[in-house]
Amino acid sequence: MRSWGLLLWNEWIKLWKRPGFFVPYLLLAILAGGSAVIIHSIKADLFASGFDFTTGMLAPSGSGLLILILAVSSSVKIVTQEYRYGTIKFLLIRSHSRASILTAKLAVSLLYTLTFTLFAFLAFFLAGGTTFGFTMAAGDTWNQLLLAGVYEWIFLVIYVLIALMIAVLTRSGGKAIGMGIFIAMLNDLSIPKPFFKYVLFPNTDLSVYAAGHPPMAGMTLGFSATMLAIYAGLVIGISYLLFCKRDVS
């Protein structure tokens, strides 16, 4: 367990030492500050409070997709840089199984995505609070605010996992980012047929259930959570299969 912890630490160091590590966080800060100032100056009554602003902006229907683009483009490098630099060879001829190496990579990408969520959460809360006020409006609760953060993280995680699967498959950063974002763009796609509720896209945004209008009839929070778990399991399974079996040339 300790040696696997060190693998995780290695992955984090590789992210941390990369030039431009702070760039996505800086962009998030600009996004939060900019959107708060602009929205407040155009339509000051759009959000009742800083709480309302944070919840609205964090949702995939707010700026969640922009955060996703940052998260996907930063985290696929966890896999693809090893192929790009050729360090995959040194990495795989160690006394560790390929599965444990991929597990460390997936785990660190979930943590990395979590830092994006937390940072975005704080940035939007501070920016929203400064412009729209830190006092709670009617109907605002801490619980609701925190859930918005958790749901955004889940939304990011599912697409980051898909992008990582494509990264393992194609070994190319450009392809993984491009295809990952393309699939995420399809998130707003809607087909009014019963089968569509089994497709990934309508299930990714769990925040809609808090607002009380499910995307399709017959869908519940539990149903969507189950669907997400199945898709995540599938994507992770394919990644392991590809990573552990394939020849490295």
């Binding site: 590789k14 990369r18 001829i93 040339s249």
Partner: protein, 339 residues
């Protein structure tokens, strides 16, 4: 010098093989890239893996370290199966596969630290020791981006030696190095093999390099084992020295007769003629005969020269006839394609 063929494919110096390949086969589609390949490497041995382009050298090396899977057979490193127990087998191996590649944005120290963390039991002291061994102490704080190829090779060796492996695998270690770098590399390898007492498997297409570095060579072609040869130095002293003698054309038969009469000199028939074996006349019109090939012990040679001189045989050349690894290699692999 090329010595006698030491068995078929048994390990040399050490008795228990550090590396053992057993009928290893890799197929892509229906084509066998590596076809039932078996050989062994003993402890403390430096073995060269040779073969023409596309012979399967790189595939073999990648199979040994588990980067590529095999269809049949198995590979054992210090008794551990690469197929069944990859992690345990990799404990005993360090390697550079093709070029040494690092994270360019990190310092040499941070890069090495990555691999130190990946292996339990490698202390900070060991890391510094290895850095000293490869002579990179002053460069460790700099980013790898700014390293020369020679420095990256040395850092590659450092990462390979970190966990005190029993077997070092080097795929084209002198690729892209300048002559000074090649010599440096060779000296490192020799020092490592003696100081750390580890076996080395090295693939290279620079045959002269292999000749200087290795105890034995394993030659493969089209994925199959062609031959295993030992490059033993001792063969020279026991069997005698091969000499090539050129005398004036009109004295050739006389010299030949004198040599044939001596019991301590063996006349050799040169099977393959080649252009070097022919008689020639120099620009000034001196006729020089075709060479005579002979084998004699060290002590006999001065007597031999004295005798020839006394018989007034005009000696133009008396040279040690070295069979280079290149000549042998071309013979084994049937010629026209250079490794």
């Amino acid at each position: 010098m090329i010595g006698s063929n030491q068995g078929v494919s048994k390990a040399g110096i050490g008795q228990t093989p550090i590396l053992r390949l057993e009928g290893v086969t890799k197929r892509i589609g229906s084509r066998a890239i590596v076809d039932h390949l078996s050989f062994e490497i003993g402890g403390g041995e430096v073995v060269g893996l040779l073969g023409p382009n596309g012979a399967g050298k790189t595939t073999t090396i990648r199979m040994i370290v588990g980067l590529i899977g095999m269809n049949e057979g198995d590979i054992y490193i210090a008794g551990q199966s690469v197929r069944a127990n990859h992690a345990a087998a990799m404990k005993c191996v360090g390697g550079i596969i093709e070029n040494p590649e690092f994270y360019p944005y990190m310092s040499g120290y941070d890069n090495l630290k990555q691999y130190q963390r990946m292996t339990p039991g490698v202390s900070e002291e060991r890391m510094l020791e290895v850095i000293r061994l490869v002579g990179l102490t002053d460069a460790m704080g700099r980013k790898v981006k700014g390293y020369s190829l020679g420095m990256r090779q040395r850092l590659g060796i450092a990462q390979a030696l970190l966990h005190r492996p029993k077997l070092l695998i080097l795929d084209e270690p002198t690729n892209g190095l300048d002559p000074a770098g090649i010599r440096e590399m060779r000296e490192y390898l020799k020092r490592i093999a003696t100081e750390e007492g580890i076996s080395v498997l090295v693939s290279s297409h620079l045959l002269a390099e292999i000749e200087l570095m290795c105890h034995r060579v394993v030659v493969i072609q089209e994925g199959k084992l062609v031959t295993v040869q030992s490059l033993a130095q001792e063969a020279k002293t026991t069997v005698g020295i091969h000499l090539e003698l050129r005398v004036a054309a009109e004295h050739r038969e006389l010299a030949r007769g004198l040599l044939a009469m001596r019991k301590d000199v063996q006349l050799l028939e040169q099977a393959e003629g080649g252009s070097e074996g022919l008689a020639f006349s120099s620009l000034s019109g001196v006729q020089v005969g075709a060479p005579l090939f002979l084998q004699a012990a060290e002590a006999v040679i001065p007597e031999l020269i004295a005798q020839l001189a006394a018989e007034r045989v005009r000696i133009h050349r008396l040279e040690e006839h070295k069979v280079s690894l290149e000549d042998e290699f071309l013979k084994w692999t049937g010629g026209n394609r250079i490794a």
